[in-house]
Symmetry: C2
Subunit: 327 residues, 2 copies
């Protein structure tokens, strides 16, 4: 495996010149550049990132922290991150925390030991305290989930408003008995979406009935099924459901189907996230679309800027209500 010395020797120039050719400095004369490039291709030399990284003390790696790659919610965000990263000469280190503190801490040390240049955190279950501490020293941005007080730039949507839109849509369709299928309120988005739900109801003088709010312990498909089951058992069955995630909504949908009821005729459903599967269901799901790709791409841009020492501002992006067959 040839190194820069070999190239320099064979081309009859110094390593500095080879390095200049590699980084196309303007000061290299056309003639020597050609000469060096010829040798480079003859030896099929590839500059070692290891050497370069040590010297420039950067790894050109962005650490992306998320609970699980199997959650389709993240896929488009990841695409956005990766595309932007690559365009800027970075690669991404996808790290699943599984909400496991031990793993998380292992990933955190990747940035401490210079294996990664910065972090995009998408894990709602991240240890905030440690994250804030880390953010004092290392470039970090949060995507989708964020913390208001913290000094960490984030990109997100207005969850409260999105939920408000979703529920208002159901109200406009004539629904009055609207259930909320949400998750544990330890997560900010769950609290905000409940607030939006309640605001829409109040605005149309519909009483907020605690019985119609189901808090799923987890955000899996089965939780959606189970939540829907208990909502169906209510004496005064809801005619519509707003689920704070598509996965919950799909669980609800399946439970409704299994009970011989029809969507949207018997019960309408609105989900949240517009994951790819939300239009593969029967019927397709009305849902709130977040600009996933752009969120990912923007957070990568923000992180790279932060790595380069620039100041970056948090961003709240637009959402969109996508009306499909389930309402």
């Amino acid at each position: 495996m040839a190194n820069i010395q070999d190239v320099a020797k064979k081309a009859g120039v110094s390593v500095a010149t080879v390095s200049r050719v590699l980084n196309n400095h303007s000061s290299v004369t056309e003639k020597t550049r050609i000469k060096v490039e010829k040798v480079i291709s003859e030896l099929s030399y590839e500059p070692s990132m290891l050497g370069r990284n040590l010297r420039t003390s950067e790894s050109k790696l962005l650490l992306v922290l998320l609970p699980s790659v199997s959650n389709p919610y993240y896929t488009e965000i990841i695409n956005g991150i990766e595309e932007t990263a690559i365009r800027n000469g970075y690669n991404i280190l996808l790290c699943e925390t599984d909400s496991n503190p031990e793993r998380e801490s292992r990933y955190f040390s990747l940035v401490k030991n210079r294996m990664a240049d910065g972090i995009i955190s998408m894990d709602p279950a991240v240890n905030k305290e440690r994250l804030f501490e880390l953010a004092k020293t290392y470039p970090i941005v949060q995507c989708s989930e964020y913390d208001k007080g913290a000094d960490i730039p984030f990109v997100t949507i207005n969850s409260e408003l999105a939920a408000y839109h979703a529920v208002k849509h159901l109200i406009k369709l004539g629904h009055k008995k609207i259930a909320l299928l949400t998750s544990d309120e330890q997560f900010l988005y769950a609290r905000e979406r409940r607030l939006g739900y309640e605001r829409a109801l109040r605005e149309f003088d519909i009483e907020v009935n605690k019985q119609r709010i189901y808090y799923a312990g987890n955000i899996g498909f089965e939780n959606g099924q189970q939540g829907m089951r208990s909502l169906l058992e209510l004496d005064d069955r809801p005619t519509a459901v707003f689920a704070v995630s598509d996965i919950l909504a799909i669980g609800a949908l399946k439970e409704i189907n299994s009970n011989g009821l029809r969507v949207p005729n018997d019960i309408a459903i609105v989900g949240f996230d517009k994951i790819s599967f939300s239009n593969m269901t029967y019927p397709t799901l009305t849902t709130i679309a977040q600009p996933m790709y752009r969120m990912g791409s923007m957070s990568a841009t923000m992180l790279i800027n932060k790595i380069q020492g620039k100041h970056v501002e948090s961003i709240v992006m637009d959402h969109e209500l996508v009306i499909r067959e389930s309402t």
Copy 2:
């Protein structure tokens, strides 16, 4: 940011000793080890991977090549890879090719320039020629998709046999008009699954009717819908469909539902892959389960062994027919 020199100086030892403590060499005396560890924690020193990587000329990064992270087929495999990687001190670089040769070539160069120690390729659309060439110099294993002639170790299942089992299951249920919903035969798995389909039919003296085989140009959900649509238009409509992937099957399912037909009463469906969504559909999907997690974990182990210069053998893993509501 403290470096090894700072630690050495403050602890009153040489950098060599600090390094030995870091890598817990046995030759370090208890007393000095304690002393050094104390300083390490006082300075909250973290050894730089950049320095270490250059010196040992390894990056401790495994490159995982796949067409798209949004394909749920890969998620469990990735989990398996990542878990095993971490256990062995590696991290993974998830790389989406999007079947884009330019991206692919950029990723290939990551291993050439020592940014990654080896490759797990899961991309069926990978440029074989370049992959084989690369495999002469760098550690590579293939997961799921593979090439028979090539000198690259792989882990996969017996697709032909799995397809045979799937179709036999349909035949046992009394079906005779069984359609095949498959993808472009440039991919080995598609060819093998068709062979298994045909073998099962022949074994039960059912004629292979070319009209009942639909070749989808792509493997997306819409292709499944479209394929099913054209199968439904046949004069002699099939009573069962074997789809070579769950996504295609889910597309077919939706198309069937949209036409007011019932699964499995009117048409039975068998999918392939047991992606997580295959039990969120209504009805749930009968499918072939591949041992995804184990396949991922095994390919990581194989790659790491290969990196360490050991000889590794290819493996064919077991599959399982998971019978659910759609048949």
